[in-house]
Symmetry: C2
Subunit: 119 residues, 2 copies
DNA sequence: GCCGTACTATGACGACTATCGTACTAGCTT
DNA sequence: AAGCTAGTACGATAGTCGTCATAGTACGGC
């Protein structure tokens, strides 16, 4: 798979280029409750968030794992800023490839959360 | 999990009731290439199709397995008609729970297929 | 009743997944 | 330089998943 080339000396991370993002991979990445929750919070924030500001009920290494799955599926973009690793939803790429998909999933997740809370 | 009760003497199959359909389960069910293909053909047909009219590149038991995953996730409805087992997308339930989701996924799948074919 | 068609159930197998703990690295702060 | 913070790499483990083959069940037609 083609990936972006890390600049020499930096700590850039490998991401799939837009054309290599697969629908099946995106759906699989979003089918895990924890990862769906991560993407929801990221989308809600509308800006970069560090891994550490998510208080997930799993260990640090498991957290790292889930963020990597999301990055490798093309759902999020990750970049180092000092010791922190910032995360952002790949809105432009995803909306170009699959118009409306992310919005539908986020809306569905919000509805389900509301349903669970009130029901 | 609550399921529909098979009528006595029939061969009705257990389906989750609408309220028990989980977004994560739906996304997971759709994240397999074969299952996504099944749902696409079913949606395209717009009517019930038997399992046997899908010519999937896997064995019969694997085919059965994939249809069951789709049914248990709440994506399709299955009913026996004689020896045939008919399948249909659970449009009403899915569109009520997650408006626009299935359409977005189907549209995304169609775009990806077109991209792959021409690219 | 017997046969064919359509699908299931069971058990197996290899691959992948989610999880963890421990040990480690990179960068900031003092 | 020393220490703290954020995150990684590695190995282990238990569980799930996709696949198959074999043997079996349910229904319709002859």
């Amino acid at each position: 798979m083609t990936v972006t080339v890390p600049a020499a000396g930096s700590r850039a991370l490998p991401h799939p280029v837009r054309e290599d993002i697969r629908l099946e991979g995106v759906l699989h990445a979003l089918s895990d409750p924890l990862r769906l929750q991560i993407v929801r919070r990221l989308a809600e924030a509308g800006r970069e968030l560090s891994c550490s500001c998510f208080d997930l009920p799993v260990s640090k290494s498991t957290t790292t794992h889930h963020f990597r799955v999301l990055r490798e599926a093309g759902v999020i973009w990750q970049v180092y800023r000092g010791t922190a690793k910032m995360n952002d939803v790949r809105r432009d790429d995803l909306d170009t490839l699959f118009p409306g998909l992310i919005d539908s999933v986020l809306d569905a997740a919000a509805r389900q959360a509301a349903r669970t809370a009130t029901g």
